[in-house]
Amino acid sequence: MILVNYLVGVVVFALGVAVILTRRNLVKIVMGLSLIESSGYLLLLSAAYRRGSTAPVLLKPPGGQSEQDLARGNVADPVLQNVCLTAIVIGVAVTAVLLVTVVRIAQHYRTLDADRVRDLRG
C-alpha cells in the first residue's frame, strides 16, 4: 500500500514541526527544517510511483514487458521526480544559509538559546 508512504511522510513532517515548536536550540530548529524537507521528498516520489513501474529511463523495455506497455507509460512520473530533484538541491542551499546565520548569531550573542537572543524578542 503506497498509503503507508504518505502516512510516514506526514509523521516525519509532524516530527519536524514538533522540533521547531518545542526546541530552543537554534541548530536543532534547523534540523527540524531538514526533516520537513525530507518528508516533502518522500511525498513527491511516493506520488510519482505507479504500481509495478520502473525508473523512467527508456533504453529498452524492462524484463517481461513489451514496448506497448511502455507506450501506456508504466514508468514512474518523471515530472514529479524532477520537481523532487530541484527540491533536494534548493534544500541543501537553504540549510547552508540557515546554518551560517546560526553561527553568526552564536558568535554575536554567545548563546544558541532562541529565547536569549534579545533582538528576536517580540
Binding site: S34, L35, A55, V57, A106
Partner: protein
C-alpha cells in the same frame, strides 16, 4: 519483495526521525539526520528514481552532516578578537 524493501526503509526513516527529536546531543542528532538522508536515498531507488537517489545520497549522507558538524564546531569556538567579526564594538548602548 518491493513492499518488504519499502516498509523496511520507511521503518528506518521513521526511527531516524524520532532519534533526531529525542537526542539531546547535537552531533548525535546530526548523525541521525544523516541516517535519515541515506536510507531515504535507498528508498528512492526502490521507488524507481535513481537520479534522485544519487542526489539525495550525495546531499543527505555527505554534504548535510558536514555542514552541521562544521556549524556545531564553529558555534563552540570562542572568538578571541571581536574585531575579526566585522561588527561594531560590543557597546551596550548600541543595543536596541
Amino acid at each position: 519483495m518491493f513492499w518488504v524493501l519499502d516498509y523496511l526503509c520507511l521503518a528506518v526513516v521513521l526511527t531516524g526521525a524520532v532519534l533526531v527529536v529525542r537526542l539531546r546531543n547535537l552531533a548525535g542528532a546530526a548523525m541521525a539526520l544523516s541516517l535519515v538522508g541515506t536510507v531515504l536515498g535507498l528508498l528512492f531507488v526502490v521507488l524507481g528514481a535513481p537520479d534522485d537517489a544519487h542526489a539525495q545520497i550525495v546531499v543527505g549522507a555527505i554534504a548535510l552532516p558536514t555542514l552541521y558538524l562544521i556549524a556545531i564546531g564553529k558555534v563552540r569556538t570562542d572568538v578571541e578578537d571581536r574585531t575579526e567579526l566585522g561588527e561594531p564594538a560590543d557597546d551596550p548602548d548600541d543595543r536596541p
